[in-house]
């Protein structure tokens, strides 16, 4: 499954990183606490969050995530978009709230990692 498949399936709006949608998605992580994402996300994960500030791009870059989906119709800060374009991190928007979106992602075959 690629990021572009998620965009199609959930009609996500693309706000940044449109050239990076062919990345393979290895699983998903949902959290609004950055250090929690740093500790528990895995390379290639799609990250679901309501945080919109530029540090989400820093986290996604450090962890080599496949992309970030902002939920609840939230728009990223302008600094976030600029940084996301520089780093090549897709920023995608969904009007759904996190719980609903994660449920649909799971149904599509995107799962989380078991605790190690």
């Amino acid at each position: 499954m690629r990021v572009s498949d998620l965009v199609k399936s959930f009609e996500l709006k693309i706000r940044a990183g449109k050239d990076r949608l062919l990345e393979e998605v290895t699983g998903g992580y949902a959290s609004d606490l950055l250090s929690d994402v740093i500790a528990h996300s895995r390379k290639g994960n799609i990250w679901v969050t309501i945080q919109t500030h530029p540090n989400i791009v820093a986290v996604a870059t450090m962890k080599e995530l496949a992309g970030i989906i902002l939920t609840g119709g939230r728009e990223p800060d302008s600094g976030t978009l600029q940084k996301a374009e520089e780093e090549g991190i897709p920023i995608l928007l969904s009007p759904l709230f996190t719980f609903e979106l994660v449920g649909r992602l799971y149904r599509l075959g995107i799962s989380g990692m078991s605790p190690c």
């Binding site: 606490l33 950055l34 250090s35 929690d36 740093i38 820093a58 962890k63």
Partner: protein
């Protein structure tokens, strides 16, 4: 901990302002850029960037001001972060996952998960943390360049 004087190839100091959330992450970004240009393996860059990001955020969230120093030596990378602020009264407690003293504003921004110090420990080979209550905190962490676990199989 190794490496203080003779064998340092590069020493760079960055200033961090407490409460400056606008520029948060900019110093760990610069650290990453320096290490990339120097040609370090990705795994090492990733580990140092994560640890430096967490350390930088700790100063921004909890201290008045601080300095982050990056040292590059032939066989290790070291980061030293010193801050002035209220310090950490109980370091064991601060090191336990999930413990945080973050206020509402910090949590709203997604910090204060109580994972910062544990993440630094996980992403470094050695870490030393000392603090004087109501004065400040001193943090050092090192990554050894000759360790097998810091290299990818083909490097």
């Amino acid at each position: 901990m190794e490496g203080t004087e003779n064998n340092i190839l590069l020493h760079k100091i960055f200033r961090i302002e407490g409460g400056d959330f606008t520029n948060a992450g900019s110093i760990s970004d610069q650290v990453k850029t320096i290490l990339k240009k120097a040609g370090f393996p990705n795994k090492i860059i990733r580990r140092i960037s994560i640890a430096a990001f967490e350390a930088e955020m700790n100063v921004i969230c909890y201290a008045n001001r601080g300095n982050l120093s990056l040292y590059i030596a032939p066989d290790f990378l070291k980061v030293v972060v010193e801050d002035e602020g209220h310090g950490i009264p109980d370091i064991n407690l601060a090191m336990s996952e999930g413990y945080s003293t973050a206020d509402e504003k910090i949590r709203e921004l997604g910090f204060g998960a109580g994972m910062g110090l544990p993440n630094i420990r996980k992403n470094s080979d050695e870490m030393v943390l000392t603090s004087t209550f109501k004065q400040g905190t001193h943090l050092e962490f090192v990554i050894y360049l000759d360790r097998q676990e810091n290299r990818l199989p083909f490097e």
